[in-house]
């Protein structure tokens, strides 16, 4: 799993209120990558070709989830990395930040139930040919936990049609929709395929102790892609 050659170096950003940054870093370590901590106020990224925006409640979710964090100084270099083909993965609050920043389409709204949901959810892999899902197979069913109050993905009918037609829906909730997301969307990629956001937490599903290791399929795919990008940046 760890392969040979240099480790994938992956930046993990901490915003004020992030709380899954440590789990993300730990999961990356277990998957053979080298997590590099980055603070939201940093104006430059370390020498990486991949970044994780972890879950949590950046800036207390004030105004709208992710709305304030998108203006953090570190978002400038992240925008540039994304534009340059680098890999960006936003988990939960990270997904919300990427939508607010315009790096991903759509918006995340309060759950239909108005309740915080915290449980394992079944997911279907819609696309196995992305840097974030290459270790999966198409239509594979995964079990990964969600824990959020504002995970209801919204896209108007025009945007939704565009996402569906261009195959940018990567993960969908299977069975009961935990938050009312349109078309049961749990994860999407940008048009170029190098930026992904998802509400479920793969970093909480890498150890059999917590019930499922399906998260390692997603993060492992990301680590593989990051390693390729580290050794051959031009190939991204």
């Amino acid at each position: 799993m760890t392969g040979t050659g240099p480790k994938a170096r992956i930046a993990v950003v901490t915003f004020p209120g992030s709380n899954d940054d440590r789990d993300a870093a730990l999961a990356l370590e277990r998957l053979g990558a080298e997590p590099v901590p980055v603070w939201h106020a940093d104006r430059e990224l370390p020498d990486v070709r991949a970044v994780i925006l972890p879950g949590g409640f950046s800036h207390g979710d004030y105004l709208r989830a992710g709305a304030l964090a998108r203006f953090a100084p570190v978002m400038g270099p992240i925008q540039r990395l994304a534009a340059d083909g680098g890999l960006v993965l936003g988990i939960c609050n990270g997904f919300q930040i990427l939508c607010e920043a315009g790096l991903l389409p759509g918006a995340l709204r309060p759950n239909h139930s108005l309740s915080f949901v915290c449980r394992d959810v079944p997911l279907t892999v819609e696309r196995a040919d992305t840097p974030f899902t290459a270790r999966c197979t198409e239509r594979q069913r995964l079990s990964i936990p969600v824990k959020h109050g504002e995970g209801c993905f919204f896209a108007d009918s025009e945007l939704l049609a565009e996402l569906e037609e261009s195959g940018r829906v990567v993960l969908r909730y299977e069975g009961e929709n935990p938050n009312g997301s349109v078309a049961a969307i749990a994860g999407v990629v940008n048009a170029e395929g190098n930026v992904m956001g998802l509400m479920p937490h793969p970093e909480h599903a890498v150890d059999p102790l917590t019930g499922s290791t399906d998260g390692a399929l997603l993060l492992g795919s990301f680590v593989d892609a990051a390693r390729r990008a580290t050794t051959a940046p031009a190939a991204v």
Binding site: A67, E100, G106, P110, H112, S113, L114, F154, D156
Partner: protein, 81 residues
């Protein structure tokens, strides 16, 4: 100069808070057809005339105070300094 910005969920956007309040109001016996919940932002602007203030407030709404995909906004200039 003081200003108030009203931010509302756009028509067609499901507003679970509004629905919950609608249900409670009906339970209390009020004949209510619909309820939508938005946000009020009261601002005290440091300088500028009305036109400049309005232009700045537009930019504040577009950049931060509202998410144009899901929310509409309305600007009210309250008074002049």
């Amino acid at each position: 100069m003081r200003a108030t910005v009203l931010v509302r969920p756009k028509p067609g956007i499901l507003d679970p808070q509004g629905e919950a309040v609608l249900g409670s109001l009906r339970q209390l016996g009020f004949a209510v057809e619909d309820a939508r919940i938005g946000r009020v932002v009261d601002l005290e602007l440091a300088n500028g005339g009305r036109e400049q203030a309005r232009a700045e407030l537009e930019r504040m709404c577009e950049q931060l105070l509202a998410n144009p995909l899901i929310e509409s906004y309305e600007i009210e200039l309250v008074g002049e300094a």
